[in-house]
């Protein structure tokens, strides 16, 4: 199959489960809720950053409106869980709402992506930014539905399903990490498949694949849809965590966050953005505990990476390691 690369699939599944089990043991070894919070946020934001890196790292498209899909996932989940239609499903309501969140984000990504991929370079970036801000404005304008600038008010029920009660911290922790790891394993398959190599080919030389009868636009659109759907999934997890959704998640500065993570972790290694999310969250936790001037520190760190290291940490480590 075009999207599957069987060789490493079993290995990846095994590694993924192993990491999941280790993190579950970690939960009991370190009972500090602060640490649990950081780990689950790293996975949520890591998914968000990894989805963006499909476009940036593998396709070379600097999308600057990725938070649109994060927010659409969050709002879709929240609104459906508040609606009678989904909450009547009782124990199935959360899985259904999450599926709908991914689906709606995927449809949104199809519509926006189909228009955006016609443009190149900076024009592509600006169009994604414009669409994202348009969605931000729509969220603010539809006060009756979205709660406007207050965010989605009133919370929503989180009924247990399959014995998982997301109201409990441990269930949420295990569930979020499990979903994230599954998604990462699937994403790995996509990236290592012929389709994934097609993306790299378009990035490195867009004329050559076109000359070989390769449909660049189709590949770009599919990548855009996958990226948008995963961002929507990350948004829905974030909404479950916060029991709400906020318009700032659709603001342009939210799109800058995954860019930072990609920069910090590295865009040329598969898990780079996840590592970036880890650095970002640890930095966030450490700095906000010690000073009010979070932006100042983050800005200086980014400056060091941009001008000093010139690549993400994981990229740098892998290059060092391979040389030896």
């Amino acid at each position: 199959m075009l999207f599957l690369n069987k060789d490493n699939f079993q290995r990846d599944v095994f590694l993924g489960l192993l990491v999941w089990l280790i993190l579950i043991m970690f939960y009991f070894i370190f009972p500090d809720p602060g640490i649990h919070d950081i780990i689950q946020k790293v996975f949520i934001l890591g998914l968000f950053a990894m989805s963006l890196n499909i476009l940036i790292g593998y396709l070379g498209l600097i999308a600057f409106g990725h938070a649109a899909f994060f927010a659409s996932g969050a709002y879709t989940l929240g609104l459906f869980l508040q609606s009678d239609f989904v909450s009547n499903l009782a124990s199935f309501s959360i899985p259904v709402a999450m599926l709908l969140a991914v689906l709606v984000s995927g449809i949104l990504a199809t519509l926006i992506g189909a228009i955006c991929i016609r443009l190149k370079d900076i024009y592509f970036s600006f169009l994604t930014l414009a669409f994202q801000m348009l969605i931000y404005s729509i969220i603010l304008a539809l006060v009756n539905i979205t709660g406007g600038d207050q965010g989605l008010m009133g919370g929503f029920p989180k009924p247990p399903f399959l014995g998982i009660n997301l109201g409990k911290p441990f269930d949420f922790y295990a569930f979020t990490i499990f979903i994230s790891i599954i998604t990462i394993v699937i994403l790995r398959q996509i990236i290592e498949s012929p389709f994934g190599y097609g993306l790299r080919m378009i990035r490195d030389n867009s004329e050559r694949p076109a000359a070989l009868g390769f449909s660049n636009q189709k590949h770009k659109l599919i990548a855009f849809i996958i990226a948008g759907s995963i961002a929507g999934l990350a948004g829905s997890l974030q909404a479950l965590l916060d029991v709400g959704a906020y318009p700032e998640w659709a603001f342009w500065s939210k799109s800058a966050e995954p860019l930072f993570m990609i920069l910090l972790g590295g865009m040329h290694s598969f898990l780079g953005p996840l590592m970036g999310a880890l650095i970002f969250e640890i930095l966030n936790d450490f700095v906000t505990a010690n000073t009010r001037y979070y932006g100042l520190v983050l800005g200086l760190v980014i400056l060091c990476f941009v001008l000093g290291l010139k690549k993400g940490l994981l990229d740098w480590i892998l290059i060092k390691f391979n040389r030896k």
Partner: protein
């Protein structure tokens, strides 16, 4: 959407005129800032994400100078000049290192400077809103009534001042040797270098001019609104919109686009108060889809 409110406004001379004047004020202030952004992009090829932070710096500088000297004109000019000098250092120390880097690196470098400056002004001036510098005494007169439309004279002053700055900019770019060099640098910097022009000096000058314009916009904004950290974060997006609609690198395009956005904001506030910002982004999307090079831009 309140389409009848808009119709009512258009057929009433008082409303039409005051909204138009309001739109002109917004548009012309925006033009000051956006023209700097588009100039820098046109010549240096860098998307200066920190342009809004320079605007904020202009507001703080002029507030500070005003509180020391109490002279309005001095505070605006020195504030803008201060930002120009700051921009020169910014270009020499940081931006000049990433001219050949890819877009992502340039964006992140500029954005890190935004984060740093937003916090620095809080450290220096505190995180409270600073009340506006205030309108100079000459303009502290009752507003003009033209066809019953209320028009503050200071707004007219801002409009005419921005207009004059635009004219000066146009004159510099089209009639002077410096302007010709700048336009040549936008087309073929290597050839210019081969002809013995110091391209680094030219770039630094252009960046300084762009920063000066951002600072001027900020200094004028400080006279009508409050000064606060992060105030550049909305103007930068509006400047991007203007730059894209007008055509990236085109100053005349920025002028036209500023007018369009100013009017869209002013009349949009009447027609759909909750979706005024959305209207701007809608225009941006439409221009990018139908005419990606912008209204006055050249197709590459």
């Amino acid at each position: 959407m309140e389409i009848f409110a808009l119709l009512d406004c258009i057929i009433s001379p008082a409303c039409l005129l005051s909204q138009a004047a309001g739109g002109l004020k917004i548009g012309m202030l925006l033009f000051l800032v956006a023209s700097g952004l588009t100039l820098v992009f046109g010549v240096l090829g860098v998307i200066n994400f920190a342009h809004g932070a320079l605007y904020m710096l202009g507001a703080y500088f002029s507030w500070q100078i005003m509180s020391i000297t109490g002279h309005f004109g001095l505070s605006v000019i020195l504030g803008a000049l201060g930002v120009g000098i700051f921009g020169l250092l910014f270009e020499r120390i940081l931006i000049s290192r990433v001219y050949n880097a890819d877009l992502l690196v340039q964006i992140l470098l500029c954005y890190s400077v935004v984060l740093i400056l937003d916090d620095l002004v809080m450290i220096i001036w505190g995180d409270e809103f600073l009340s506006s510098v205030g309108v100079p005494e000459v303009f502290q007169v009752p507003p003009l009534f033209i066809f019953d439309a209320i028009i503050p004279p200071f707004h007219l002053a801002i409009i005419s001042m921005s207009f004059i700055v635009g004219l000066i900019l146009w004159f510099i770019m089209t009639k002077t040797r410096f302007g010709r060099l700048v336009r040549a640098a936008a087309v073929n910097p290597k050839m210019l270098e081969a002809l013995g022009i110091n391209i680094n000096l030219l770039r630094a000058c252009v960046f300084m001019l762009g920063s000066f314009l951002a600072g001027l916009g900020g200094a004028l904004a400080a006279s009508v609104g409050s000064v606060v950290s992060g105030m550049g974060n909305s103007i930068i997006i509006e400047s991007f919109i203007v730059t894209v609609i007008g055509g990236m690198g085109s100053i005349s395009g920025a002028f036209l686009a500023s007018l369009i956005i100013g009017m869209a904001r002013s009349f949009g506030a009447v027609a759909m108060p909750l979706f005024t910002d959305g209207l701007m982004f809608l225009i941006m999307v439409l221009v990018l889809v139908l005419r990606p090079q912008g209204l006055m831009g050249n197709k590459k």
